[in-house]
């Protein structure tokens, strides 16, 4: 009976949208580094930790207002408790575990094992409870029981919680974790050295009345102080044997220090590239709009140089590390990733719909561009894909791969040759106007239906007359270009006027067109 009710409730939770939404919200807040409020939450929690430690330090020699203590002991602890419980809740999906167990049992024609499901859930939760970070969280809540004065020292565990919120600390820990074996070896070596030297010095000194090392604790203390090359001088060996032990341990101490320094330095050196890459990924993820360029070819370099004028950030994906370094040396945001791999996008977590203006495929091979296009099309159908085409016979394949705009350099050169051979001056004029190398440019102005009268009236304005040419209006609905439009030509919302004029004059025209009121 209970098991049926539990399964029913699990199915209900699994499909109950407000519950799932709430769970996703808290997951994002606590775990998702890309969630927009995550950073604010982390800063808030770090603020609480620092405040808590400040109150502890202040209370040592000063009277703390009662309200502060209440805040520290109850409010902060309660917030940490809530956070701990939320993490406990989020760690595993209990309803899913029950459903999986239920469906598995049904499939195998077995009665539903309620105890099996509960055991799995229990093991999942216990795994969380005994994880190092959860233990720290739990200890940080302990000052909640402020009546036990000793437990106030647990406030210091709150400092350890900083590892949860500060990414750089997490990074430090992951770097050191990569050298687990070396660190473990170092610790074992140090412990053995301390143990051996403590026993030796105790044996040599303990019975000598002139020596201050009288107990085993004194011996251990002396060994630790000496092996780490501190040497306070409060305990010194006086016997010959003791001094020989001291010489040995001083030499070993230098080895310990050197070994530990080299471990840290080599860990950082090995992870340096990874750290840099993560920094670049952080910068990329923070971008609101960007162009994504796949492949850093000479053409890509040139395209990026031109696109920089639009002040939209550009991110380059390139799998050749040398090209990545070249791009970075040019001040570009370049990531060492294969643009044709789905793994790349799952790792980088691009928001194609909102973050990426367009994807430009500029690999030097049609095969790579097609493969990349198919990968991106698996992720989104809506993003605009632009690609360079190396060989005209592959044009259809690029279209089939979902590329919207294709540029073939060979065809372009061929077509241009025809114009340049017949009308070289006209070609130069068009080239100059398009390349925006002169103050006169050809530009687009987006119109709406209400602008019609104002548009044609402005053209007669002395400021624009004879100095501002409308080459035509492109109707986005009819997909037709109306050259040299007559004032009777209607204008629909979304139509685009192609104009030729001085750049400043175009801006002025645009501004007057959008201004309300009489001209």
């Amino acid at each position: 009976m209970i098991s049926r009710w539990v399964v029913g409730f699990a199915f209900f939770l699994h499909t109950y949208h407000p519950y799932q939404r709430t769970k996703i919200f808290f997951y994002n807040l606590l775990e998702n580094q890309n969630y927009k409020y995550k950073k604010s939450f982390d800063i808030f929690m770090m603020g609480l930790i620092l405040l808590s430690v400040y109150i502890l330090i202040r209370s040592v020699k000063h009277e703390i207002p009662h309200a502060w203590l209440l805040f520290n002991n109850y409010a902060i602890s309660l917030i940490f408790l809530v956070e701990y419980l939320l993490r406990f809740w989020l760690h595993s999906n209990s309803s899913k575990t029950i459903i999986e167990q239920y469906e598995s049992d049904i499939f195998l024609h077995r009665p539903f094992s309620f105890s099996g499901a509960m055991k799995t859930i229990f093991l999942q939760k216990i795994e969380y409870v005994f994880s190092p970070s959860a233990l720290i969280d739990l200890l940080a809540i302990m000052p909640f029981f402020h009546e036990f004065r000793l437990l106030r020292i647990f406030i210091l565990f709150r400092v350890l919680k900083l590892f949860r919120y500060a990414k750089s600390l997490q990074r430090l820990m992951s770097i050191l974790a990569s050298k687990k074996f070396e660190i473990f070896t170092l610790i074992v070596f140090t412990l053995i050295m301390i143990m051996v030297s403590s026993v030796l010095i105790y044996v040599m000194e303990a019975n000598n009345p002139e020596s201050r090392i009288n107990t085993l604790f004194d011996a251990v203390y002396w060994s630790v102080v000496t092996i780490f090359t501190v040497g306070y001088g409060d305990f010194v060996p006086v016997t010959h044997g003791g001094r020989i032990v001291a010489m040995m341990i001083i030499v070993s101490g230098i080895a310990v220090i050197s070994f530990s320094t080299s471990i840290v330095v080599s860990a950082f050196t090995e992870k340096l590239d990874e750290i840099k890459e993560e920094k670049v990924i952080d910068r990329v993820n923070a971008l609101k709009r960007m162009y994504l360029v796949c492949g850093f070819s000479p053409l890509a370099h040139e395209v990026i140089r031109k696109l920089h004028k639009h002040h939209v950030p550009i991110v380059v994906l390139e799998k050749d590390i040398k090209k990545v370094q070249e791009a970075r040396s040019n001040g570009l945001l370049a990531l060492h990733y294969d643009s044709a791999s789905l793994h790349t996008y799952s790792h980088l977590k691009f928001d194609f719909e909102h973050q990426i203006e367009a994807v430009i495929l500029l690999h030097e091979s049609d095969v790579s561009n097609i493969y990349t296009a198919l990968t991106i099309r698996e992720l989104t159908k809506n993003i605009a894909l632009y690609s360079v085409l190396q060989y005209p016979e592959n044009r259809k394949k690029l279209f089939l791969a979902g590329i919207n705009h294709i540029v073939n350099t060979y065809e372009l050169v061929g077509m241009m040759s025809k114009i340049i051979a017949r009308q070289p001056v006209a070609f130069e004029v068009i080239h100059a106007l398009r390349s925006e190398e002169t103050s006169t440019v050809i530009d687009e102005i987006i119109l709406d239906a209400e602008m019609k009268d104002r548009f044609y009236t402005l053209l007669e304005d002395p400021l624009f007359y004879q100095r501002f040419s409308v080459l035509g209006i492109y109707s986005t609905r009819a997909k037709q270009f109306y050259f040299n439009p007559h004032p009777d030509k209607s204008i629909e919302s979304g139509d685009i006027a192609i104009v030729l004029a001085n750049r400043g004059l175009i801006d002025e025209f645009r501004s007057k067109l959008h201004r309300r009121g009489k001209l």
Binding site: E302, K306, P392, V407, L412, M415, M416, L433, N484, N502
Partner: protein
């Protein structure tokens, strides 16, 4: 004199596209190659191909074409060889119209120094088009159709002759849009040797013989103004 013949040096993907595009507009098109592989490939493609080397022996060119009405495309795959070819041709034929392909801006400057009349920097051309498609897609499409596709709209350059009705007139006295249904894109003042668009600064330019007017409009209207300029009554 309008060129009637075209010689293309090199037979690669660029040359193939150039041949494909210009064959219909020239009376005689020939391809000249250095190596045997390109020569055989061109012959297999049915191209009128000849051999050349980078010495100063251009007799084969002079035998096949009237150099006065010849346009040359220097389209060798190697930029250094292309520069050498350009400078060699210029050294021999002072008035030859030379169009050279350059892989990038650096080579473009060298081609210009080697006295090519027009240089097509391939990387920049492709980059410009990609940039334009991204930033001004409609304008790019319209201009592409006008320039390269079989469109009723076209561009035309007209040189003002001594007997042209435009000779001696001021720009502001002419209403090309109203009277000819054409848009004047630019005037090239041969005396000043610079290109400028009338729209940019509103100069009331005095049109002289030798100036070149660049128009955009429907082909029939462009032909009308060409005839008008040539002094044919329309």
């Amino acid at each position: 004199m309008k060129p009637r013949c075209a010689a293309i040096f090199g037979y690669n993907e660029y040359s193939k596209q150039i041949v494909k595009q210009i064959t219909s507009t020239f009376d005689n098109v020939g391809v000249f190659v250095i190596d045997d592989v390109e020569f055989l490939e061109a012959k297999n493609d049915g191209i009128n191909a000849g051999r050349f080397d980078l010495s100063d022996d251009w007799q084969s060119i002079e035998a096949l074409f009237d150099v006065e009405s010849l346009v040359v495309f220097c389209a060798l795959s190697d930029d250094a060889e292309n520069v050498f070819l350009t400078i060699s041709l210029r050294a021999t034929f002072e008035k030859l119209f030379i169009i050279a392909l350059a892989q990038d801006n650096e080579s473009m400057m060298k081609m210009k120094s080697a006295s090519a009349d027009k240089v097509m920097p391939i990387l920049q051309i492709a980059a410009n088009v990609i940039h334009d498609i991204l930033s001004k897609p409609i304008m790019t499409q319209v201009l592409h159709d006008v320039l390269y596709e079989d469109s009723p709209l076209n561009i035309m350059e007209i040189e003002v002759g001594d007997t042209s009705p435009f000779n001696g007139l001021y720009l502001h006295d002419l209403h090309f849009k109203r009277d000819f249904d054409l848009i004047l894109l630019a005037i090239v003042d041969q005396e000043m040797g610079t290109t400028f668009s009338f729209a940019s600064k509103g100069h009331n330019h005095h049109i002289d013989a030798g100036d070149i007017l660049v128009f955009m409009g429907y082909t029939d209207k462009l032909n009308v103004i060409k005839q008008w300029n040539d002094g044919v009554s329309v």
